[in-house]
Symmetry: C2
Subunit: 290 residues, 2 copies
């Protein structure tokens, strides 16, 4: 199994992202790693259907032709392993005005899950690397739209204490625009409360409404016994966090869980949408005020 | 390796704890599992020193005489595998007024880590069981002092939503006393923010000061490369959580990290103490008011 090209490509991506997340170098490394991963999946694996316990969604997994390993669940309607080089380039550069939402959702999901599938199948030994890949992908897309690289820590203002807090992405877009707090997660489960808690710390330090919380998540699917798929959703808890910890301005999913959609339509009206919507409203997200 | 008696004893403890956490049945199952575990460690393992990167503390690990497996780090000053049946009984029943603090710290630490060590050495296959054991131990000790079993969920009060939130231990001691919110963790790392966030949700739902947040943790040690020990501490982040999320009334450790002690002495003055102190102040903890 040729794991080396994948590991090398990932390492180049990681190094470029540290240097300049919104750079052309990151764009080209992301494209290369995505294509390498999809090529790997097409060449060495085949899709095997899973029993979906999610109404209205079909899932499969990629399985090595040798049968030795299988991947996380794949949303069949959103996965298109034959996406073209030029489509990937369009998404990464944000030139998606002419791409319709359903196709944009497919392109985004396929790019985001590509490397995760390859790692599932070869196990390059770095369990954290799919999370880092996804963070770099979302960070790159956001940084280019916002025309600014994010910080990963913030100074704690205090009368006599000097201290910094490590954070998820913080985009400081200058004094005339909203600031953006963007946690990025492959999936969340019970750990999601961390995103609301960090939003709370930012509001406590810098005032309510100063930071827009924008939580970006790939999926909440969970494969059970190699045969079926569930979505792990905690809508009641999410409502409590939104009411009592701090408001999250948007939650974007690459594969939006069905049970979270109704949260938009009743108090506290959490705005949970497919990530494609980010490309339609990123200017509005920067506009300060309620 | 005789793993079955351990697994059976653990299972009996788990079932009794679900039925009535403060019961005599849980006391006797806790004592039995603790003695079984210490006996196992004495019989099949030996202590091997680790290099301590924690100033003023010495650590070892238990290692099977066959060399096949080794345990998490053990604080040598706090571990006494020869503690007696009657000492264990004293601690579990809370009759510790005549036991001096240093010995009480030793008894508590040895009881708390006993089953964890045995599981490290036999790997009964249930990775969560040390966490559950520790939760039952602390829950039992607290429930007996408070004369009330804790709940594990709380209703979310709202105008038109009915919802419950799963929580850590919640002790409702009646209208004339403080209510207690007690998260219990083997170790915390970056996940500790969850405890402050849940405290925030409780304050948001029921008013500031209604619930006393009491966080109980075994240790923050981490074994590196089978040879050395560090304590993973984030004092600056803890101060920010205490300032901006919600106040935690007490943090008790069975093996108190050195770097957290100074947090008591400067703003926001987080009260971090050895767990033995709980037995000296549990009545005061229930007294409402600032």
């Amino acid at each position: 199994m040729p794991a080396d090209p994948l590991a090398n490509s990932y390492e180049r991506l990681r190094v470029s992202a540290i240097a300049d997340l919104k750079s052309a170098a990151v764009e080209s490394e992301l494209a290369m790693l995505c294509e390498l991963s999809l090529d790997f999946v097409r060449r060495y694996a085949e899709l095997a259907d899973l029993i979906s316990n999610v109404p209205g969604k079909s899932y499969a997994m990629a399985r090595l032709k040798t049968g030795a390993r299988s991947s996380r669940p794949i949303n069949k309607a959103l996965f298109d392993p034959s996406i073209s080089h030029s489509e990937i380039a369009k998404v990464l550069s944000g030139k998606v005005a002419a791409v319709k939402d359903p196709r944009l959702d497919q392109l985004l999901y396929t790019i985001a899950i590509s490397y995760c599938l390859a790692v599932d199948l070869v196990s390059v030994g770095n369990k954290k690397s799919p999370g880092t890949f996804f963070e770099i992908l979302v960070g790159h897309l956001a940084a280019r739209r916002f025309k600014a690289n994010p910080a990963r820590q913030i100074a704690i203002p205090s009368l006599d204490i000097e201290n910094t807090l490590p954070t998820d992405f913080i985009f400081d877009l200058g004094p005339t625009k909203a600031k953006i707090h963007m946690p990025v997660k492959i999936s969340t489960r019970e750990r999601v409360i961390q995103a609301w808690a960090h939003q709370r710390v930012l509001e406590g330090m810098h005032g309510a409404g100063r930071f827009r919380g924008i939580l970006v998540i790939l999926t909440e699917t969970n494969k059970q016994k190699e045969t079926s798929v569930v979505e792990v959703c905690l809508p009641g808890q999410w409502a409590a966090y939104q009411m009592y910890i701090a408001p999250m301005h948007r939650v974007y999913y690459f594969d939006l869980p069905k049970r979270y959609e109704p949260l938009r339509d009743k108090y506290p009206h959490i705005q949970i949408w497919p990530f494609s919507r980010f490309f339609r409203e990123y200017e509005q997200l920067q506009t300060p005020g309620p």
